[in-house]
């Protein structure tokens, strides 16, 4: 186990997340992609804490903030999906493309 290996693991998770977020049609599945990307960030944060500056709490706080961000993302995501579903009976990104130019 080394910093490099942990960062490769983090990039692998992050990129699988990118693949999911870009390729999935369902909003819930897109959110799973985002979660997986943040999962990679968790690994990277923990790795930097352990291998770069274990004497300072910054890495740990970063991980804690990312976990919080994940829950916030999830809660808002589900609320938005519910609202969209109620308004338009849709759970797919293609049907909620209001912002697309």
């Amino acid at each position: 186990m080394s910093l490099e290996l942990l960062l490769v693991l983090a990039s692998a998770l992050f990129c699988i997340g990118i693949y999911g977020a870009l390729s999935q049609q369902s909003i819930v599945m897109v959110m799973m992609g985002l979660e997986l990307m943040l999962n990679g960030v968790l690994v990277a944060g923990a790795a930097f804490w352990a291998y770069v500056s274990p004497s300072r709490p910054d890495g740990q706080v970063l991980v804690l903030v990312v976990i919080t961000a994940m829950t916030v993302e999830m809660a808002m995501g589900f609320a938005v999906v519910t609202a969209i579903f109620r308004a338009r009976d849709a759970d797919l990104t293609d049907q909620a493309a209001d912002l697309s130019g």
């Binding site: 049609q25 519910t82 579903f85 109620r86 009976d89 849709a90 797919l92 293609d94 049907q95």
Partner: protein, 402 residues
């Protein structure tokens, strides 16, 4: 293997008993419960939990088919007995144990069964998915018009299941619905009653209640020729079933024991006091009140409009009130109160008391959660062992859309 054989024999000393009651099978069920209790056999929650399937009473053609489905859902080693009256029960239970211990025969039975994936719908009649949407015309699927990119639609799911349809729910969402048939056989369920429900999540959106034809002449509970304590016993039986469903098995056990001692000899002086004690205990239980309060409220004037008489009308309230009413009336009956009409009430406007109760079921269960609906139905406890009931409510008679 010798070890398997010994385990099978050892386990057969305490089989789980699944009682399947057909209308008119009340005396057989009571006898079976009594003997099973004496032997310390537990009651099965459903076919998956059962070793011995006891069919109480004579099933009609439709019920016989449902019995077969239930039997298919019982995992081996298994045995099946048919109880017609109260007398043959001890012998039948002995036969059941002997059949469970007969390892070669059980092996043969197991070898002859097909796994459900191969044979299509072989699940239990009352708890399976085979009845999901079978009657909907194919193509009536909202998803088909939604334009899902490169999704391929294939109508038939593996196992012969159909895809769920959708309908608006109470939260303004269009979600999947599921058609489920409650009954005719469920633990603590009125014998022969069938309630077709449409569920969204576990909320009942539509319900149709009807009975499957019975083959007996009249209700055993209301038989005037019976022993004097029969009215009290009938109420204690209903209360025991509701308590069982409400998850208080200890109180249900007491209620069943009292019911049997009332049937043995209603004039024993201590019994009425014991019934009173049970009533006080049930009344005091805060967890029971939390669970049952405000569920299936049926004010007295509404009950009168619906043609309901008897304890359900006199209780003038929710499931909890109806439970207490049964216990109060059981105590009153033991103290010599005559009581009006039958155990479920009187005939009003050409409809028997049980008919009125069945007709009220959809009104009360729509909008409730599945478990709540079961409690409400148990708190009405219609008795279908009445020829009039069986003849007039043989097909879906009440329909209401929530």
């Amino acid at each position: 293997m010798a070890l398997t054989e010994r385990l099978v024999r050892f386990a057969a000393g305490r089989p789980h008993l699944l009682l399947v009651e057909c209308p008119g099978g009340t005396p057989a069920r009571l006898a079976a419960e009594r003997h099973a209790r004496a032997r310390g056999w537990p009651r099965a929650d459903g076919p998956a939990d059962a070793d011995v399937l006891a069919v109480c009473g004579a099933p009609s053609t439709e019920l016989a088919a449902a019995v077969e489905l239930t039997w298919d859902a019982v995992a081996g080693p298994r045995s099946r007995i048919s109880l017609r009256g109260g007398e043959d029960v001890p012998d039948a239970l002995e036969r059941a144990v002997a059949a469970l211990r007969d390892v070669p025969a059980q092996r043969l039975d197991a070898a002859g069964r097909t796994p459900p994936d191969a044979g299509g719908d072989t699940g239990a009649a009352e708890m399976d998915h085979g009845d999901m949407n079978m009657d909907d015309p194919p193509g009536d699927m909202d998803h088909a018009e939604m334009g899902h990119g490169d999704m391929d639609m294939d109508m038939d799911l593996p196992g012969g299941l159909a895809m769920a349809d959708r309908a608006p729910d109470r939260d303004g969402l269009r979600l999947d619905i599921l058609h489920l048939q409650l009954g005719p056989f469920l633990p603590a369920w009125p014998a022969g009653l069938v309630v077709d429900v449409t569920l969204q999540g576990d909320v009942v959106q539509e319900a149709y209640a009807y009975g499957w034809a019975a083959s007996t002449a009249s209700s055993w509970w209301d038989d005037a020729a019976g022993p004097p304590g029969r009215r009290a016993a009938a109420h204690l039986d209903s209360a025991a079933r509701l308590l069982q469903l409400a998850g208080w098995s200890a109180a249900a056990y007491t209620a069943r024991t009292l019911r049997d001692s009332v049937l043995d000899d209603a004039s024993t002086p201590g019994t009425a006091a014991q019934v009173a004690r049970l009533g006080a205990k049930v009344r005091r239980s805060r967890s029971l009140r939390w669970g049952l309060r405000d569920l299936g409220a049926l004010p007295a004037e509404r009950a009168v409009q619906l043609g309901i008489s008897g304890p359900a009308q006199r209780a003038d309230g929710d499931v909890h009130d109806r439970l207490l009413q049964w216990l109060t009336e059981a105590w009153a009956a033991l103290n010599g109160a005559a009581g009006r009409g039958g155990t479920r009430g009187e005939q009003v406007g050409g409809r028997t008391a049980s008919q009125a109760l069945i007709a009220a079921i959809p009104r009360l269960v729509i909008g409730q959660e599945l478990a709540g609906a079961r409690l409400i139905i148990a708190s009405l406890d219609p008795d279908l062992a009445d020829r009039d009931v069986a003849d007039t409510i043989a097909k879906p008679a009440v329909a209401q859309h929530g």
